[in-house]
Amino acid sequence: MKVELRNLTKIFPSRNKKSGEEVIAVNDFTFTIPDGKLIGLLGPSGCGKSTTLYMISGLQKPTSGQIFFGEDDVTELSAENRGIGLVFQNYALYPHMTVKQNILFPLQNLKGADKLPKAEMLQRAYEAAKLVQIDELMDRKPGELSGGQQQRVAIARALVKMPKVLLLDEPLSNLDARLRLQTREEIRRIQKETGITTIFVTHDQEEAMSISDMIVVMKLGVVQQTGRPQEVYDDPTNLFVAKFLGTPPINVFAGEVKSEKLYIGGVAVLDVPGVEDREVTVGIRPEGFVPDANGPLVCKLNSVEVMGRDVSVVSTHASSLNPIVRSIVNSDYRISSEETVRYSLKSHKVFLFDRRDETRIRF
């Protein structure tokens, strides 16, 4: 099922009645989620991503704008009637019911023509459990399960009624690092197998990048950029998106463009054809540095961290807006000097941004 958001806006009344300031949680969000895809809603906390998810679920009503499931306008429809599956951040498994009872619960709510015979309910519950590999745990209570297992039960409960749309709110945030890697692959696999349009919310860019078909980057209620993960990473529209995506994070410098050359710390480091003379903020991805004995960018060397395949070089530079400059280079590279490291730059890994409004300046 295709999901379409048109000018979706959510304004919360102010908590402090006296000041009367409203909070715009989501501002004019328009986006179409293609059928059968896995979409990551991504942004720092307070960016409105969860609010968006809850508006799609029907648990929160938009202040204005519309939501379409396929061709149907469901904006006025309450959560009960939307036929979606929702996995909560804390899973919200009913603590007094067994895993089986939890998974059966949505099926037992079906009424009228949709009502299922008992045997079929059980069969569907076991199918869903098998899909998430918890069919061994059916008689346990949630309190007796690990976080990862609870998470699977929550997914099974959301999937068992075969929802048109599956929504996941920070599905991995309560898991430890190893389980997180494993579970995100699992979510990808389940989504592929079922083909259900899936939207998940996360503040972890790596998580979103690794499994999403498309990502939506949000900040303070405003969508910054949408697209396939690699596209967004390679071609950020503004400094926020560039900074938010990628580990290690992008390196940011103060720079200046003079006669189509980019200067960092008074040294010309790159040709930037077509850019007017101006002051700019420069973003350089860690993999955009090429160690070069004659390279124009000279940094003071701090340390070299060997990470197997790659080497991470930590250095400092007077014009860097971050405390350190971190580059990722091939492990064949050997440091020659003890004090400095010189780089030339890959131009497609260097992004220029307006100093004031931080929008991208293309070259």
């Binding site: 149907d72 006025e76 009960e80």
Partner: protein
């Protein structure tokens, strides 16, 4: 859009209209039920108030008036005189204040010892105290009655105050509160050479003030509402507390007839201070009561 789509759209509109109707209907039912119950709960208070300002003749009408035709206040004057309410008020106030103050001192000291000091048998002693909470008070009353008599306290305020000074429940409540205050504060005070009592006064009591206020209110309300024990040990007219004095004051000894408007005026007078306390200190009362709910 195709015809099929618009059909479906119509269907969706029906569903959302239906769901809106259900929502409104449920809200209406909820409020109707709650208001009905609230009226039932409030009705006795209303009846008390309007009966207290009716003349006896109007009160005895065959079909009672829901609002008095003539509002009179002499029932209040009569109630005050007949039941000697002034005396009852003073007695109750005296017993309430003295027992609350003494009780607070004892409770604070005990709770401090249980929460902050280390001594042999502490846990066993605390468990034993908690166990006594299970025993119904009536079991103590019999012997306490004898004890009070032996001590020669019959018909004295001492008999009303001393036996109930220690409440295990209050000690428990305050100890839990004290335990939440980080021990580091106590250690820091020790390092600075602060004495226990000074620390208690300067740090723990201010931090536990809400609990202490709750205890004070509940204790005062206890004095206000106590009936059984005062009737047993201090039943002389000049020693009576409010509840005890109230119950039988308005029934004519010969005819067994009660002047109900005067009686209602007396009840209103007695209830008024409680309402006042409730209105101003609702937060503390509800917290104290609900916390006693969580102890289970």
């Amino acid at each position: 859009m195709t015809e099929h789509v618009s059909m479906q759209e119509k269907n969706l509109q029906q569903v959302s209209a239906h769901q809106r109707i259900v929502k409104v209907a449920v809200q209406v039912l909820l409020y109707a039920f709650l208001f009905l119950m609230a009226l039932t709960v409030l009705f006795p208070f209303y009846w008390m108030l309007i009966s207290s300002v009716k003349t006896l003749a109007e009160y005895q009408l065959q079909i009672p008036t829901f609002f008095p035709r003539k509002i009179v206040f002499f029932n209040y004057v009569e109630a005050f005189q007949t039941a000697n309410l002034g005396r009852l008020f003073l007695n109750t106030l005296y017993v309430g204040v003295v027992s609350t103050l003494l009780s607070l001192v004892i409770t604070v000291l005990s709770a401090f010892a249980f929460a902050r000091l280390e001594f042999k048998g502490k846990n066993a002693l605390f468990a034993a105290l908690l166990a006594t909470m299970m025993i119904p008070g009536e079991l103590f009353t019999i012997t306490n009655y004898i004890t009070v008599d032996t001590f020669g306290w019959m018909e004295t305020f001492t008999a009303l105050i001393v036996p109930f000074l220690v409440s295990v429940f209050y000690i428990y409540l305050l100890r839990q509160n004290f335990m939440q205050i980080p021990n580091e504060l106590y250690l820091a005070a020790k390092v600075d050479g602060t004495s226990d009592l000074k620390y208690l006064w300067k740090v723990m009591i201010p931090l536990a003030l809400p609990t202490l206020i709750s205890i004070t209110i509940l204790k005062m309300m206890g004095a206000w509402n106590s009936y059984i024990w005062p009737r047993l040990v201090a039943n002389k007219p000049e020693m009576r507390l409010i509840t005890n004095g109230l119950r039988n004051a308005f029934t004519d000894a010969n005819t067994q007839q009660t002047n109900i408007p005067v009686q209602m005026a007396a009840v209103a007078i007695v209830s008024f201070p409680l309402f006042l306390v409730f209105i101003f200190l609702r937060k503390y009362i509800m917290k104290g009561v609900s916390r006693s709910g969580i102890k289970g």
